[in-house]
């Protein structure tokens, strides 16, 4: 099932389930608890990011060819960092260039994002997928200069400016994606394919990531996990391809859909 979070015409935030014909029926109740699909057609004014994450965990260098292209190695432990919830952005909404902080090196990273549905801690990989609410596309937008040079050796700063975590357009529940390994993922910038990968090429797959992240750490319902990006990021081009005002970035994942955001100087 494909779920969307949206703003209705009365200004209320709602959830809806997509029907085979593309129509959306409103959902009543809590997405992470009791809910039911009504017969009411959703009156959609604006589609929003499918969840407001309780926490945004991110994984670095989780595709070997990407680790190679940026000259890093996938080590014994996954590279884990976080993005602030302030960075959340809706599908179709702009990625704002950080004018005050300033960046010369704005980059994209198309990623599969896992949304946790039930609180979990110390989960083994064989049960990990039972805690997943669904999957969506994410763009781990990165200001490389802040990430690598001005961030005091932490990546968090360069990846947490406002609007740097667009996710969407929908949440696809596990009944439609039984196995998150083996999904094609592509990123285009202004229509040109820049990243072409498949989640089967992850160094650590989704169950392994949930197992690792949940060690001594409660993953609360609504936690988003950015699972890493395949090769083809802007910094690895020659010369580098930095995003600029007006650039349109689209991330498509098989069985999910396309997340599109345009870079704007706001």
């Amino acid at each position: 099932m494909k779920l969307i979070r949206y703003l209705d015409h009365s200004g209320k935030i709602q959830y809806a389930a997509e029907q085979p014909g593309g129509a959306h029926l409103r959902i009543e109740g809590d997405l992470f608890a009791k809910n039911r699909v009504t017969q009411d057609l959703a009156s959609i004014a604006k589609i929003l990011a499918p969840v407001v994450p309780a926490m945004i965990w991110c994984i670095g260098q989780n595709y070997r060819r990407h680790a190679d292209e940026v000259g890093m190695t996938s080590g014994d432990y996954p590279v884990v960092f976080a993005k602030g919830p302030n960075a959340l952005q809706d599908p179709g909404a702009p990625i704002a260039t950080p004018t005050r902080a300033g960046t010369e090196e704005l980059d994209y990273e198309g990623e599969l994002v896992v949304i946790i549905g039930k609180a979990c801690k110390d989960v083994g990989r064989e049960h990990a997928l039972e805690y997943v609410a669904g999957y969506t596309c994410g763009n781990d937008v990165s200001a490389r200069d802040w990430q690598l040079k001005k961030g005091g050796s932490q990546w968090c700063r360069g990846k947490s400016f406002d609007t740097f975590a667009p996710i969407g357009p929908c949440l696809v529940t596990p009944d439609s994606i039984a196995d998150p390994n083996g999904l094609a993922i592509q990123t285009t910038v202004n229509g040109r394919v820049m990243q072409d990968g498949n989640t089967r090429d992850m160094v650590r797959d989704v169950p392994a990531l949930i197992e690792f992240l949940s060690q001594s750490t409660t993953l609360l319902p609504g936690t988003a996990i950015f699972t890493g990006t395949p090769h083809g990021v802007g910094m690895a081009q020659n010369p580098p391809l930095w995003l600029k005002d007006g650039d349109e970035v689209s991330i498509t994942i098989e069985k999910i859909g396309t997340l599109t955001n345009t870079v704007r100087k706001l």
Partner: protein
């Protein structure tokens, strides 16, 4: 699918009538294999994808697979004996016209009924999955002019594929100039930091494609009529918004022949069609410059097109296999056959071609024809093809390639029986001779050779706006104007060649997924590709294979 559990499936029977079993993994000589309550002692090693017989056969005995005759034994064979090219000869059942209308239980498509894809609707009602401008020569004499235009347009418009290998040559030039000839042997290609591609000028145009070919003159009148028919099919194709045609002037394939062929396909043809004739031009430079000017203005117009929701009935899917192996007929082919069945119910089209690879399964296809006139046309084209092959002392039995044979496809009939699975089970609604354009919803049979590129070139010329291409050995093929989705028949190939394989259907062999589930998943992918949201590996590699069939003998 079999009596054994999914995890320990080691052999497979494709049809209850079969007297040969397929090994799903490498089996050893002397091993006892149990299947369906019987035990078989293997008389030799049986590599994965190969077959052994389940009963003793005298010389000349019939070997049945997929429920049809696939060959006769050349020598007596014991129960558990391995089939090989040494002991098996091509043989195919004879066929006769159908005696009843086909009966079919269509799959449930309620899930798909209201689904749409985002496509380019054309004035004639067809819907494109891409938005291209094509430039094509009417004769090989114009190929250099075509190359000049290609170079001029592709780079400047941002459509050229990045020149990733140029740096390796540049590096070798540097070493050579510095006199370091010893180091030349160790220069290798590095994927890191590929040169960035230029930005696209036209956001809503997927590319400008140049259909170079070797025909248009020097052959028979039938050759030039066929070439013009095929080119007309490309110009009429919904993925094409407009075309530039280069003509020399004196060649067999005259502009008027092309224009008539276009009119036959669409009496109200309205797309921009720019024709330049060199023998009427003041100079070559004048013609090229004018072609560039008018083509650029045409591009400005067709960039205004927008994708809109379109019903799945506007999908026309070419069904093709190439570089086949012994799993093709078990995994990927029946999976895309299920896609063809789903589309047939939804009002879309499937195109099954490669007549040399339908040899041996004619009767099943004849029985599936919706009318006697459809089946008669199929029988006529099939016999005609076989006769022409025989006339030049070739025959359908020569079709399987060394690679096919190594991977378990021993005879043409065996290859055919697996190949025909791409056509699913729906009724045959139309039969097309080359280079006709398809119009009937449902499954169409199209007369083409089995040769990968000639066949896909013809399928797209008949209106296929997506091609599903299955492969067991791996082939990079693509088409200039239609996305070609390549499906591996086994997971090993998908792992080894991720740069050319779009979808892995190996899960069917391991028993993780059913043919029907895989078919539904493929149709979902088709919709994302048709909508321009996902691009195929062939598109990313700019694999623009285009070879018009000359209608000589090609298998």
């Amino acid at each position: 699918m079999s009596e054994n559990g999914a995890s320990q499936r080691r052999v497979l029977r494709l049809d209850p009538r079969d007297n040969a079993l397929v090994a799903l993994t490498d089996l050893r000589k002397g091993e006892t294999v149990s299947f369906a309550g019987s035990e078989y002692v293997l008389l030799s090693d049986v590599p994965a994808k190969h077959k052994f017989v389940t009963e003793a056969l005298a010389a000349g005995g019939e070997v049945i697979m997929y429920g049809v005759l696939v060959g006769r034994t050349a020598e007596p064979l014991q129960r558990g004996g391995l089939l090989s090219t040494r002991n098996l000869r091509h043989a195919a059942a004879t066929f006769h016209n159908r005696d009843a209308a086909p009966r079919w239980s269509p799959p449930d498509v309620s899930r798909w009924r209201e689904k749409t894809f985002l496509g380019y609707e054309r004035a004639d009602g067809q819907v494109g999955t891409r938005n291209y401008w094509v430039v094509l020569p009417l004769v090989f004499c114009e190929n250099r002019n075509l190359a000049v235009l290609k170079q001029a347009f592709e780079e400047e418009l941002g459509f050229a594929a990045p020149q990733i290998y140029r740096r390796q040559v540049a590096e070798m030039v540097r070493l050579y100039r510095e006199g370091k000839s010893e180091d030349l042997r160790s220069v290798s290609f590095t994927e890191n930091k590929p040169p960035a591609a230029a930005a696209r000028v036209f956001r809503n145009i997927d590319g400008i494609k140049f259909l170079m070919h070797e025909g248009g003159c020097g052959g028979t009148h039938e050759d030039s009529a066929n070439l013009c028919g095929l080119l007309a099919g490309y110009i009429h194709h919904p993925n094409v918004a407009g075309a530039t045609v280069l003509s020399l002037g004196c060649q067999h394939a005259q502009v008027t022949i092309l224009q008539e062929a276009i009119k036959r396909r669409d009496a109200n043809f309205r797309k921009p069609l720019l024709v330049f004739e060199q023998q009427k031009s003041a100079s070559e430079a004048a013609m090229i410059s004018q072609a560039i000017r008018e083509t650029f203005l045409g591009l400005v117009e067709v960039d205004k097109a927008q994708r809109r929701a379109a019903h799945l009935s506007h999908l026309s899917v070419g069904l093709k296999c190439g570089g086949s192996d012994g799993f093709s007929g078990i995994s990927a082919n029946p999976a895309i056959g299920h896609v063809a069945d789903l589309l047939a119910v939804l009002g879309g089209r499937g195109i099954l071609s490669e007549f040399p690879e339908l040899c041996g399964v004619e009767q099943e296809l004849i029985n599936r024809c919706v009318s006697a006139s459809v089946s008669e046309r199929f029988m006529h084209l099939m016999s005609d093809y076989a006769a022409r092959a025989k006339a030049v002392r070739s025959g359908f039995e020569m079709n399987p390639s060394p690679g096919n044979i190594r991977d378990g496809l021993l005879t043409d009939a065996m290859k055919s029986a697996g190949a025909a699975k791409k056509g699913g089970t729906s009724p045959v609604t139309g039969v097309l001779d080359y280079p006709e354009y398809s119009s009937e919803p449902g499954l169409n049979l199209q007369c083409t050779p089995g040769n990968d590129v000639e066949c896909v070139t013809a399928q797209v010329g008949a209106g296929a706006n997506v091609v599903l291409f299955t492969t067991g050995l791996g082939t990079p093929t693509g088409n200039p104007i239609a996305p070609v989705i390549k499906l591996s028949t086994n997971s090993d190939l998908a792992r080894r060649m991720p740069d050319i394989i779009d979808i892995d259907t190996g899960g069917i062999i391991s028993g993780e997924i059913t043919i029907e589930q895989m078919g539904e998943s493929i149709l979902e992918r088709v919709i994302q590709v048709a909508s321009g949201e996902l691009h195929t590996k062939a598109e990313l590699l700019a694999q623009n294979d285009f070879i018009p069939w000359k209608r000589g003998v090609s298998l």
